[in-house]
Amino acid sequence: FVGVFTVFRGLSAVSTCSQSCSANPTLTTLFIFNAAMKNSDSMGVNTIHWFRKGLRLHDNPALRDSIRGTDTLRCIYILDPWFAGSSSVGINRWRFLLHCLEDLDASLRKLNSRLFVIRGQPTDVFPRLFREWNIARLSYEYDSEPFGKERDAAIQKLASEAGVEVTVRISHTLYNLDKIIELNDGQPPLTYKRFQAIINQMDAVELPAETIISKVIKNCTTPITHDHDDKFGVPSLEELGFETEGLSTAVWPGGETEALMRLERHLERKAWVANFERPRMNSNSLLAAPTGLSPYLRFGCLSCRLFYFKLTDLYKKVKKNSTPPLSLYGQLLWREFFYTTATNNPCFDKMEGNPVCLQIPWDRNPEALAKWAEGQTGYPWIDAIMTQLRQEGWIHHLARHAVACFLTRGDLWISWEEGMKVFEELLLDADWSVNAGSWMWLSCSSFFQQFFHCYCPVGFGRRTDPSGDYIRRYLPVLRGFPAKYIYDPWNAPEDVQKAAKCIIGTNYPRPMVNHAEASRVNIERMKQIYQQLSCYKGLVISVSSSYGESSRDQASLRFACTRASQRTLPQGPLFIG
């Protein structure tokens, strides 16, 4: 029987064990003996749960399933030291993440466990951990992003080499994205309407898994050493190399606890309004709300499925059991849409080599890009939004449209990839799929968008917040301007500027572009691109008949191009019908 024992150690096959147990009472005895030696890693089933996103204990089916029959459990988070130093992730994102990890640690403490934060790269870390901790099982939440899939494939290989059983569950998205793609003939739906149509055909969303509480985890222990905090503690911002002097308190505190509180508030507010329509935009909408949920969804502090079901329940309660419309889940479905489009496309975040992205001749202009990123465009509406983004890490989605349009097809004609990188650094809820997808959408680079929707950097702001208080809040230098001039202070007479103690050109920059001129040029450029698309049937305002170029000659003109002619976008229903 000793021989059987060693076999079990290597295979981590608890399920096999339990099957054998029922057949062989002697083995059962051995199994109980095993369970009694809980604290020894050399026997028994030792499990690692690997947190990446999904930073929560509610609706965590991977963790729940891997706990069954486990003797020891260690929940880990791998912190890649290289990322801390790189400027592609800003301080607000790091702080949010650290809050999430601290919150997880606190929650695990209540269950007599702890979070293990491990520095290094997963491919280096895991072989070591598998050995040191004698791991039989590894679990994690499924990551649908191409980079994630690649990384996880490498880890799965390492796991199988080490005889470690891997448990993966889907809980970051409402649905199994591969099924959505399958239902659409192997291609992700490229219009939101088509996506909704496919969703309607899918089976119901799976219920959230039960929360990990003491009862669930009672048979596991976590071996905690006395120097746990030194070795595996959640680092501070300073330890990661950030300067925290003068840093204001986080407007968006991270963590599952905060997320669940916000969810309750969010639902309360919806119930009180008893109106599930899209809320009318007003100046308050621009400010961070205590009911905002997007960063928590992105990091996985809040389960999207929990949110989905809570919304459904509330709607049925308030509207007396009628079927909720898809628009109720707008926020969740957009997220799902972009995850689906991105999951099989490693080039999703680039223009070049990306089959769903139009090749647009964007301008390379680092100076202009820097002005936009730093809120120095001279357009208060744009600058205030970028300032809020940098300070707090969140801006309203209409504000995102405004600044994205300004950077790309509206005014600066700079590539959406640059904007995406800035958002990646500063925006708390920007993850790879949603960020790239939204930027492509907003720059009319994909998804058949109507490019005539141009947001005016003066007018749009003025209509959203006529008082100008939003501008004054984030650009204190402009506080003295009256509402009449605060959106276009360069038009203010000199005495007004003097009274406001802000001379345009000295205390605040002049506008970096002439919007009318820039938008005129850019709409023409977009038209040039779209006219080349043979499948584009949108608004073709003043399509020139291009007299003098017979269709045959136009055809050969296309063939004469030095690069392959504009890829025709994959067939899918056009934006209309």
Partner: protein
């Protein structure tokens, strides 16, 4: 047994399908011979030139260039004049563009071997002055060309405006003088001026059919009038409003002039409070009488208070685009005075519903088939009414979701069914992602 060598035995003027048929027969004869024990001779190098040409026309330039490296025969085919009638020069600098440029060696080759084959040429330049200057350099060397089409296209900021004017003008003049049969000319956003237009007219007045010159600040109304007076075959014209005059419209409607098909006018405000002249109704009437089917396309990039001179009288606009905010009042005037309206795009309006204005447009603009609304507000009921009145002629209905304001009759979810019903097809408003 027949053999095919190069293009020698192929009969002149044979169309590719014919040649293909011939080749197929010959190949089958060859395989018969092969079956009979003779050595196989099915050889790609024996493809007749017409077939090669036909195939090469399907290849993008880079692939064609690779093919030309295969053997002498294919290299010769690569240089056949028919393959060099059209060319698009792409001029980009790495510092200002992500896209690749046409290889300088290729450009040299084209100028050396193919400049007299070129007929349909365009230049795409990025925002750097060097690219625009490179385009001008190439233009200056096209002395042996007789171009039919020339397009100077800025793909980002208008860099032709940065080129020293004299350099640009002299390069352009080379083309105007040597190409006596220019039919299509696109020179938007360039420093072209009145004298160079005179040169154009002097050499190409019989053939010019299309002229696009929006945002050419050095041209005066007199300069463009000269073109209209002399080029009676002009069917398409694009220019800025400041060049438009009653005289110009009358010249385009004169008896000698062909029917105009397409007139595009950009109305752009340089400074707030700019003053715009008016065009007499009679001039527009003359245009409509002379060219009843012509498209009048107008793009407005004005401040709200600059619309005074516009839409006070009937105007035969067919395609109307408001690039900035336009007031309710002006949209009301559009409804009254634009009976020929086919396409309307409103980027932004404001926070008062456009219900009445839309209904009026549905009533009076009986040709309307496309409409796009951006930052506006329309109540759902009024919108349904609008669609009902327009009916199935609305082939393009692009409304941002935020535009539609639910009311007691319709919610957002119900409206798309109502609208779809009246349109006779499934319709949804345009959506923007919400995070």
């Amino acid at each position: 047994m027949k053999r095919i060598k190069g293009g020698e035995e192929a009969s002149g003027g044979e169309s590719p399908p014919e040649a293909c048929k011939k080749l197929r027969t010959e190949i089958s004869e060859e395989s018969e011979a092969k079956a009979a024990g003779e050595s196989p001779l099915c050889d790609w190098s024996l493809l007749p030139q017409e077939i090669l040409l036909h195939i090469f026309q399907y290849l993008p330039l880079l692939d064609r260039a690779y093919a030309s490296q295969v053997c002498r025969g294919w290299n010769e085919a690569f240089h056949m004049p028919e393959l060099w009638r059209c060319f698009e020069f792409e001029l980009n600098q790495p510092a200002s563009s992500y896209l690749k440029a046409t290889h300088p060696d290729l450009i040299k080759q084209i100028i050396k071997r193919h400049s007299n084959h070129l007929q349909y040429v365009s230049f795409k330049v990025d925002s750097s002055t060097e690219s625009a200057e490179a385009a001008c350099d190439i233009l200056s060397q096209l002395v042996n060309c007789s171009l039919k089409t020339l397009g100077l296209i800025s793909t980002a900021r208008p860099s032709f405006m940065e080129v020293p004017k004299s350099h640009f003008i002299s390069a352009l003049t080379v083309v105007f003088v040597n190409s006596k049969s220019l039919s299509s000319l696109k020179i938007d956003d360039t420093p072209v001026d009145d004298p160079s237009l005179k040169v154009l007219v002097a050499n190409n007045s019989d053939t010019l059919k299309l002229l696009k010159m929006s945002s050419c600040p050095h041209v005066s109304p007199a300069g463009i009038l000269c073109v209209a007076d002399q080029c009676h075959g002009l069917r398409e014209l694009a220019l800025n409003y400041h060049l438009l005059s009653d005289e110009l419209l009358l010249a385009l409607s004169s008896e000698k002039h062909v029917h105009l098909e397409h007139l595009r006018i950009d109305v752009v405000s340089e400074n707030p409070g700019q003053h715009f002249h008016t065009i007499k109704k009679s001039s527009w009437d003359a245009m409509v009488r002379h060219s009843p089917k012509f498209n009048l396309v107008m793009y407005f990039f004005l401040y709200e208070d600059e619309f005074g001179p516009f839409f006070n009288d009937e105007i035969p606009i067919t395609h109307l685009y408001f690039g900035r905010s336009v007031s309710k009042e002006v949209l009301g005037r559009v409804g009254l005075h634009c009976p020929r309206l086919v396409e309307l795009v409103v980027c932004a309006n404001g926070l008062r519903p456009l219900d009445e204005e839309l209904i009026r447009i549905a009533k009076h603009c009986t040709q309307l088939s496309a409409i796009g609304l951006g930052e506006c507000e329309v109540s759902c009921s009024a919108f349904v009414e609008f669609v009902k009145m327009c009916g199935r002629r609305l082939s393009q209905l692009s409304i941002m979701e935020e535009v539609l304001i639910p009311d007691h009759k319709y919610s957002l979810d119900e409206i798309h069914w109502e609208v779809s019903k009246h349109l006779g097809r499934v319709w949804f408003p345009d959506m923007m992602p919400t995070w």
